[in-house]
Amino acid sequence: MILRVFVYIVVALMVAPIIVTLPVALTSAGIIRFPPQGLSLQWFIGIFQDQLLMAAAWRSFLLATLAAGAAVVISIPCAFAIERSRMPGRTAMETLITSPRTIPQIVLALGLLIWFETLGMAETFFGLVLAHLVVSVPFAFRTVLVSVSGLDRRLEWSSAILGAGPLQTFFRVTAPQIKTGVIAAFIFTFILSFNNVTLALFLSGIGERTLPVEMFQRMYVGGMTPVIPAAAFVLAVVGAVLFVVLDRTIGVFRYLAGGE
């Protein structure tokens, strides 16, 4: 009973900071204050009129799509090779692939900042995509690997015995079985990439900010208008809806904790 009460207090505390952005954003005044003065939707409409914010949101969307897409595409063959071949140094390769997860991201961000400067691609969008790709691959790889290692090889052998070629077997027998895992890998990698701030903070140019960096800058520099809480609330609602849909369809726990 005490445990239950404690858990519900935790639930309330987890939701409180997200809920509080709503009343603050519903103000008709230009500053952030609680309780809010006046009631108006102007700051929610303001999100769409704020060109810097919209451009940043689009950039974040593009970045997360590219990083998650590329991460999944290169992780699939890699997961098959790691799972099925008896190469020497297999464990070493697996460690290398998943190692970006084990070092603090600020160290990687700093290393890439200097590295891109050396390569002459500092503050480029392409560089940012590569950085996001590096942190996305370990996650996408582990998630895809869970699906690949759960495959029943006998189905593929049957397909081969019945005369199907390797490609036909892959697309008609193997692919349908790992489809859910691959979609889950893409969606969760997209979310992690969209929400990443540290890498973009170090690597994005001044005119090339991602949405979270743009929000960070306005909070940090000061003079933030209630458009930021409004955008925060919208992001929170999208995140919550995404969570419920994913939990009901493919299961959040299975994939997010996958491979631990």
Partner: protein
């Protein structure tokens, strides 16, 4: 026959190649480059070789940086303890309920993963503002008088870091607690063990791998967090990540930034291994796989 066996040997390498090339070119090399930079002076003396310990000497010889390291470690320890304690209770409840209750708890406690860090920090910032929600509530209850000094404090930082990292603890601990066989707990209960005793002698040892894995993850995320300290305590907060960013982006001294980053990395790695070794000894078990 030779052709196909050759292909069989080469194919896995081709499959792995893109990922390995990516990791080598944009993970291993940049980190190695950073390490070598940290061993160079920003303004090397004329005629002197590239190798120099001047950055490390500057950091390790200055009490200011030791104090900063201490602050960061204290922050990491506190946030790990609170995240683990909260995460354990939530994870236990999650594995023992279903339906809408499970969805509600999971949604609330995993939300920071699905919603940007900035949103959570902004929310806490608004809640803790002077004359903000928490202050008005406590004032109304007559518990405090005058403005709160929480916003810029160490404990506000621990709170927000806990908020951001509880989800990771919940995920790992729930997976771990799910594997604890229910009949062992039932057996302990039948034999007359009390709640705390079951927790201490049955549940904790059986979920140790999850505790170790989540502590390592939460600790590493907490000590290396830049966003939470910079937004909650501001640029004056004495923490390693703030100093790294300041050297890299404001002072443009990448050599010092690199040295600080490696000290942070070494501290995290050493503490991780010490913790794994300690928990192995305590539970007299084999190795736990690392996160």
């Amino acid at each position: 026959m030779d052709g196909t066996s050759g292909l069989r040997r080469v194919a896995p390498l081709l499959f792995i190649a893109p990922v390995i090339v990516l990791m080598a070119a944009f993970f291993a090399l940049p980190v190695a480059d950073l390490l070598s930079m940290s061993f160079q002076a920003k303004h090397p003396e004329a005629g002197a070789g590239g190798f120099s310990l001047v950055n490390y000497a500057k950091i390790l010889g200055d009490l200011w940086y030791w104090q900063m390291l201490g602050n960061s470690l204290a922050l990491g320890f506190c946030a790990t303890l609170t995240s683990l304690a909260i995460g354990y209770a939530v994870a236990w409840r999650l594995t023992h309920c279903g339906g809408w209750e499970r969805t509600l708890i999971a949604l609330a406690c995993l939300l920071p993963i699905f919603v940007n860090v900035i949103v959570g920090i902004l929310g806490w910032y608004i809640l803790m503002l002077p004359f903000g929600v928490i202050q008005q509530a406590l004032d109304a209850l007559g518990l405090i008088h005058g403005p709160l000094r929480w916003l810029r404090s160490f404990w506000a930082l621990v709170g927000v870091l806990t908020y951001e990292h509880v989800p990771f603890a919940v995920l790992i601990l729930a997976a771990s607690l799910q594997n604890v066989p229910a009949d062992k707990i039932a057996a302990a209960r039948i034999l007359g063990a009390s709640g705390p005793r079951i927790l201490w002698t049955v549940l904790l040892p059986l979920s140790m791998p999850g505790i170790v894995a989540s502590s390592i993850l939460v600790f590493s995320l907490s000590v290396s967090s830049y966003l939470v300290p910079i937004l909650i305590t501001g640029p004056r907060g004495q923490f390693i990540p703030i100093s790294i960013y300041s050297y890299a982006a404001e002072l443009l001294d990448w050599n010092m930034a690199g040295a600080l980053a490696f000290i942070l990395l070494v501290v995290v790695v050493v503490l991780t291994y010490l913790f794994i070794a300690l928990s192995n000894r305590l539970t007299r078990r084999g190795e736990w796989s690392m996160v």
